[in-house]
Symmetry: C2
DNA sequence: TCCGATTTGTTCGTATGTATG
DNA sequence: GCATACATACGAACAAATCGG
């Protein structure tokens, strides 16, 4: 076929690689050594190596040598990190990503942005695409995190490819051994409930979201606080809703509780949005907040600020920064994976929705 | 930057192809002619052409010549598009990027996110980094767009590499021939001023930002409206401020106007943020809005909504979608660059800050 | 059909620059 | 500082394919 000296060199090196006599990462003979061995000029060797490099068989390091690439294409560090979020419009998203960007930018990394629209199919599709691109790491907000993860394979594949990742906001229950950075939702739920207990409340209702980890954990904190105060947990006072029910179910449930004759003068809400809806709903049925009923939120969003809702501070920017720092530690190997499980401490922000 | 002779030749030829001066199938200059033209050796030319051939820009025919390949053969497509914004926390950013993401996602593209912190140095740094990465296009919000662009070279280089880009929000004056998608700020300034004129106002003050294109254009619209209504333009009624002055200068200027004895019962503000500051400032000196003085904003931000400011609607999501669609048209060649100059129509949103 | 000019393809030799260890 | 190794560049020669006259 090809009898040019260049092609003979290419054929020989490919043969050595395919027969396994050269392993991934091995340093091959230097240009001068090859030139000598084949009795050709260094330029001819360079032409041969250059072709093999563009084909992805080899990669060259200036001043160091030429090396065998990983099967077919050697993935180079591109300084790109994928950030996968559920919704772009989520109210906490801008601040979190700002924190991420700040840290990554300082370290010369860029953000590759993807969204899942909070669907599993979206998440799987995203990750498959990312696996085919060149990324050095991933920060991911899991979709519908309370439902068990059906595509753990994809995460295993990331592990196999040596691409580290960090979960933020929540984490699939089966994958709590993987790195994550999140607000301590149990502690948050406990703190806000204790705040109400401290104000003298005993019969405290709770409204929680059933389809993400955060709802479940905040509920757990709510129980903890009750137990610690020696108050019996009453399931009739707890309302569970799903994303699709969020406009109706919380308020309907609360009205049923109030009409059932149960004494109840405080409500712990899953987040500020629900709290704001509940406050409006209570006013509609002639109950005043906080004098008749105290209401709490969660996340300390703009809504909580403008409506004066007592809530839990969500350290959005901090969370982004910590997640990025954690990921960088995993990438350069300075942080062991087992230590990459970080809970940020929540804090109560007192406003005027409790009494 | 230090570019090798090889890279200069590559850049030049790519530029000729991208500008359409070389059509598909055209024969380019021979190796010897190029060597002569650039005063380099034939080997250097060969190295340059060889790279372009492996990238798919050219193909060579032994004994015949080197020719321009078809657009589709370019092997650089990574389906990544850079989005460069000034600030991550900017209040319009989330909605704009949501629109961009929607369109790009549907077409299988991912977003590579960068921020400049509204500094030229940041912008230059960003672009240099992007040029070394593989991107198919760029959507960029220029930094301090009213100040003339000192790194047009970088944009020329993007052209040379065949990477299309679209300006959003504003555009450097010297580069208005490049593709852009923005709100028609002149028309917006005109509409909001006409709204005040329609309410019977004649002496209308204006507060504008001097260091981005938008401020200058909105001012232009303000003048247009006055002229159309036969009202003389009075420069004493116009206050210019820079980003660093924004907390003090607008209100100071307005107080000076009010105290100077000039009759003035309406103020057109650069944006909602300034309008909100002005309204608060006026109340502090005992003037009521809108009864004593009417105030208008711009952008229809959350602030305008919560404070009830009459303003101009900024079609944030729409702008993102149009910008992305335009860029995709430029990438696949279906949209000629000359047609990629899009102005979105503004609309007045009436609230209660005018009377 | 052949010739010669042109053009790309391959190779050799040499020199200098620059990153690595 | 030094040797090693890759990166860029120049000059030269010859081979092989193409095309017009």
């Amino acid at each position: 076929m090809n009898y040019s000296k260049k092609d003979i060199i290419i054929r020989d090196i490919k043969k050595l690689i395919n027969e396994g006599r050269y392993q991934e990462g091995d340093k091959i003979l230097s240009e001068n050594q090859l030139a000598n061995k084949y009795g050709v000029s260094r330029q001819t060797v360079r032409k041969a190596l250059s072709e093999m490099i563009t084909e992805g068989y080899l990669y060259a390091m200036h001043g160091s040598g030429t090396f065998v690439a990983t099967r077919k294409n050697h993935k180079r560090h591109t300084k790109n990190i994928a950030v996968v979020s559920t919704y772009m419009s989520d109210y906490i998203f801008p601040r979190v990503i700002q924190g991420i960007n700040q840290v990554l930018d300082e370290n010369g990394y860029s953000i590759l942005l993807k969204t899942t629209n909070n669907s599993r199919k979206g998440e799987a599709w995203c990750m498959e695409e990312l696996l085919s691109k060149n990324i050095d790491g991933m920060i991911i907000e899991p979709s519908q995190s309370a439902i068990s993860c059906q595509h753990q394979v994809l995460y295993d594949q990331m592990d196999a490819m040596g691409i580290p990742y960090v979960f933020i906001q929540g984490c699939y229950e089966a994958m709590m051994d993987r790195p994550f950075v999140m607000l301590d939702d149990v502690e948050g739920g406990k703190l806000i409930t204790e705040h109400l207990i401290g104000l003298g409340h005993k019969n405290i209702a709770g409204i929680f979201k059933a389809d993400d980890t955060q709802g479940i954990l905040r509920h757990k904190g709510y129980i903890k606080a009750l137990q610690a105060a020696g108050i019996a947990y009453n399931p009739d006072l707890v309302i569970w809703y799903h994303t699709k029910d969020k406009t109706m179910k919380p308020m309907e449930g609360l009205i049923r509780i109030l009409e059932s004759g149960l004494s109840c003068h405080a409500v712990v809400c899953y987040n500020d949005e629900i709290a704001a809806d509940v406050i409006k709903g209570l006013q509609n049925i002639g109950r005043s907040v906080p004098h008749d009923i105290s209401v709490t939120g969660f996340d300390n969003s703009l809504l909580a600020h403008s409506k004066g809702i007592t809530t839990i501070a969500h350290p959005q920017e901090e969370l982004g920064k910590v997640a990025a720092t954690t990921l960088l530690g995993l990438i350069d190997g300075t942080l062991p994976r087992k230590e990459a499980h970080i809970m940020l401490e929540p804090k109560v922000i007192e406003r005027k929705s409790c009494f």
